[in-house]
């Protein structure tokens, strides 16, 4: 059992928790994730490691309530326990000093983007962070990003904070103005990653995307998480989650992500009605 130590609400439906998970904390790296199961009847879902502390034996997760499991997790308070947590899973993001690294994160991709930004900064890169949110009330982790970025560019879809536009607009403007980018890392909604990849391909900039397909075991055993990269089948949980963004079949990923929409609705409706 894994105890929740601390909890904060970052934005509507976006929560932060710190959880006691010493085995995960001791070997975690940026870009990796965990798989959790809340209770005996729970499903296994992946969440990315936002921060971790070896000393305290704890990990931090940021998640958006989108369905039954994330809403239920959101209802847990400090002192409550999660039944199973396994990790760290996936390959760590490849970190090196590229020169200038641009990290483009959208929505709840931000916690993943943060971990990678920090690692790239620690490796000596000049780090430019582009983070985008729907509107002002959804802006999260601004202070965290500011601490680990040399430049921080924030945008909101509706212009309610800093500026109006998508992360793609910001990246395009940055590059058009002659901004340097030796490496781009992107994480967020699939459509955003697809468009970011399109831009960086034109500029010939090496780009990795952190993919978020549906997963079950997270250990390479089921193939639910399979994605097509460069025409080959890859399992995101063990071969990724990061892949060369110019090789990824994003349309297929988008389609596969909604495979269980009807079932997810049934589960959420039932949960909201209080059926346990």
């Amino acid at each position: 059992m894994f105890e929740i130590l601390d909890k904060k609400i970052l934005a509507p439906n976006i929560k932060w928790i710190r959880v006691h998970a010493p085995l995960v904390a001791r070997s975690a790296h940026a870009g990796q994730f965990i798989v959790l199961r809340l209770h005996e009847r729970g499903e296994r879902i992946p969440l990315t490691l936002f921060k971790w502390s070896k000393e305290e034996g704890s990990i931090e997760l940021v998640f958006q309530e989108v369905g039954k499991t994330t809403y239920e997790l959101g209802s847990y308070d400090p002192g409550d326990k999660i039944m199973d947590i396994v990790g760290p899973l996936g390959k760590p993001t490849h970190i090196e000093n590229y020169g200038t690294a641009v990290i483009v994160s959208g929505g709840v991709g931000a916690p993943i983007g943060y971990a990678v930004t920090k690692a790239l900064k620690d490796a000596g890169n000049h780090v430019v962070s582009i983070i985008g949110f729907r509107s002002k009330q959804y802006v999260i982790l601004e202070d965290e990003f500011r601490k680990v970025s040399d430049e921080l560019l924030i945008t909101t879809d509706d212009g309610s904070y800093v500026r109006k536009g998508f992360t793609t607009d910001v990246l395009k403007e940055y590059l058009e103005k002659g901004g340097k980018a030796d490496y781009v890392f992107t994480v967020g909604p699939v459509i955003m990653m697809k468009l970011i990849a399109k831009i960086t391909k034109e500029y010939g900039i090496k780009t990795d995307a952190s993919l978020n397909p549906i997963m079950v075991d997270g250990t390479g055993m089921c193939g639910a998480c399979r994605v097509t990269v460069g025409g080959e089948i890859k399992f995101a949980c063990v071969d990724g989650p990061d892949f060369d963004a110019h090789q990824v079949d994003f349309d297929e990923l988008m389609s596969r992500l909604v495979e269980y929409r009807p079932e997810e609705k049934i589960a959420l409706d039932r949960y909201v009605k209080g059926v346990r």
Partner: protein, 476 residues
Amino acid sequence: MARQIKKKRVPVPEQDPKERIHNFNEVALGYTWELATEEASRCIQCPVNFAPCIKGCPVNVNIPGFIKKILEKDVKGALEIIHKTNALPGITGRVCPQEEQCEMNCVMGKLGDRINIGKLERFVADEARKMGIHPEVTMAPKNGKKVAIVGSGPAGLTAAADLVKMGYDVTVFEALHDLGGVLIYGIPEFRLPKDIVRYEVEYLKSIGVKFEKNVVIGKTYTLYELLEDYDAVFLGTGAGTPKFLNLPGVNLKGIYSANEFLTRINLMKAYKFPEYDTPIKKGKRLAVIGAGNVAMDAARSALRVGYEEVYILYRRTREYMTAREEEIAHAEEEGVKFMFLVSPVGFVGDADGNVRVVRLIMNELGEPDESGRRKPVPIPGTEFGLEVDAVVFAIGQKPNKVLYQEVPELKVTRWGTLVVDEKYRTTMRGVFAGGDAVRGESTVVLAMGDGKKAAKAIDEYIKTGEWPEEIKPQSF
């Protein structure tokens, strides 16, 4: 006076096919005392040094010996005879391919039906479990040495059991949240009730084996870290990575690996959705590609979650199917349809990316391949489509490389299996391996046999410290 030969096998009570396709309860109900005694009395008691059944058993269980104990109504005696070489009779009695092993050799086959050894073995285990009987074990005093076992499948469990009895401090590390390997996530409840697997695991706990779930070796701990803390390591990591054919449309929605399909159902209980949170796609028609045990399990599970029409698509002919005889018979009784001499060439989806059609091509049998089986050869111009709502790939699995992808010292074969010698030593000092991890997809009983032999070799290594300069690969 000549003994009366009873030619006919005593039938095993089973759930009616019409009812059982709507539930996940065990299909074969097993012998009662009366039926078991009658079946046991058919055995002509070949002497142990001759008995062909014993030779046919991969772990050489003294079969006439335990059958005799059934006639004497001595459950404990029977159990102890089996346990000398097989620690999991409740499991092997249910899942071994007896018709290719012990039963194939049974002398009674020349006079009538072969003895139903599997069901008698199961009977002994089930009676013992009901009565709470365990075999007498002698536990060697603790020797202060530590062994780590990676993977809680039959290979790992068997090695753990033997080592703890020899006095070792044994810890089993398992990646998943439940223990038992394929026994828990793969083989369905209706064939191997999970309570039986749990019972065996609880017993191991009671004799001192420690279990750590939710630990992936290679991620949570590295193999190098284990070697610092333990005197030896056994890898029983199985062959859990599913294969797909890279055909057009293979990633359409509704196309599963058997592992995903069965894991959702068995481990995550998707058949109880939405009471349990994990869903499974439902529909009318489902096609399974492959014809081994895994394929039969997927097909029969599909019926039970509500598919009305389930097809097995196999590229060769009936006699080449690799599944256990009983599984094929059960699948047929339950209404699974078999299509032979067909291979998939692609999948067609609807506008939303859901699979709708499997494109198939007809084969004819050509020359035998390396395995001696005649190779399927596609006949040009015979392509056709089968409409489906879901497809399950059951065309094989390979070892999961998570553990050793960053351990260059561990040599693997071109099939991805670990190289070991006749003592189950890998190419890394202090590291042993067995089961599907070294054989590729194999069987429960062979995995168990490996675990047992590896335990002996580990004991020898820890006592002597001897390790060969060079590992001479054993072929399987």
